[in-house]
Amino acid sequence: MAESLRFHYDVDGGNFTSAGQASVQVKNNLSQLGLDPAVIRRVSIAMYEGEINMVIHADGGSADIIVDDSCVTIILADKGPGIADVEQAMQDGFSTAPDNIRSLGFGAGMGLPNMKRYTDFMQIDSVVGEGTTITMKVNF
């Protein structure tokens, strides 16, 4: 790949029926590029967790995917409430998701830990009251 490829998606807030559409689309796009299925799986899961978080907590946001020679970069940005204590949010099992979200099978406090688990780099930039931007990279 001489130049990097970019994909942009808008993530709807509050819509659990369509949640994951951007991730599925990214999975399809990366498959068409011929990337290793294991890499695609890591990118897809990390992005889906982020997408779900934006739907639950931030009334949606945007996702940008950049594919270059050796790496997939995922940038998720929202204008939600922000994360007051990032270290606490990163702990397995910590969740502020409401009960209706838990009844859907989410809210186990594994979203951010999974994003870290499946990526080679993860950075959270969050300002309370302004929003959160998460940058992740998966090398291949």
Partner: protein, 108 residues
């Protein structure tokens, strides 16, 4: 064993098989979706009692071989449509999750 062969085995039945020749490798049991995404392996049969539309997305992104709905649970219409659109295999079992896992263990 393929998903199609599993769906024909005693105690299991097909709901919708989009990719029947997919090989089943191992099993994961779980109902918390992020837990499944964090722990299940590609190619696993995923046994769950969750049946909403998000199950189809998780199954597709985690690249499991099939979803087995235990306890006689049936996917809702949205979940069924989403699974078929994404090529996710769905199997039903009337057994509890533990018994389904034991039965699967004897087959693969």
């Amino acid at each position: 064993m393929t998903v199609s062969e599993l769906a024909s085995a005693g105690g299991f039945r097909a709901i919708a098989l989009s990719d029947p020749s997919r090989e089943v490798a191992g099993c994961y049991v779980g109902d918390l979706l992020s837990w499944v995404m964090g722990r299940a392996q590609a190619g696993n049969a995923w046994i769950t009692i969750m049946s909403n539309v998000n199950v189809a997305a998780v199954a597709s992104l985690a690249d499991v071989a099939c979803v087995i709905f235990a306890e006689g649970v049936q996917p809702d219409e949205q979940a069924l449509a989403a699974a078929q659109m994404r090529g996710v295999n769905l199997i039903a079992a009337d057994m509890p999750e533990y018994e389904a896992a034991v039965a699967l263990s004897g087959l693969i």
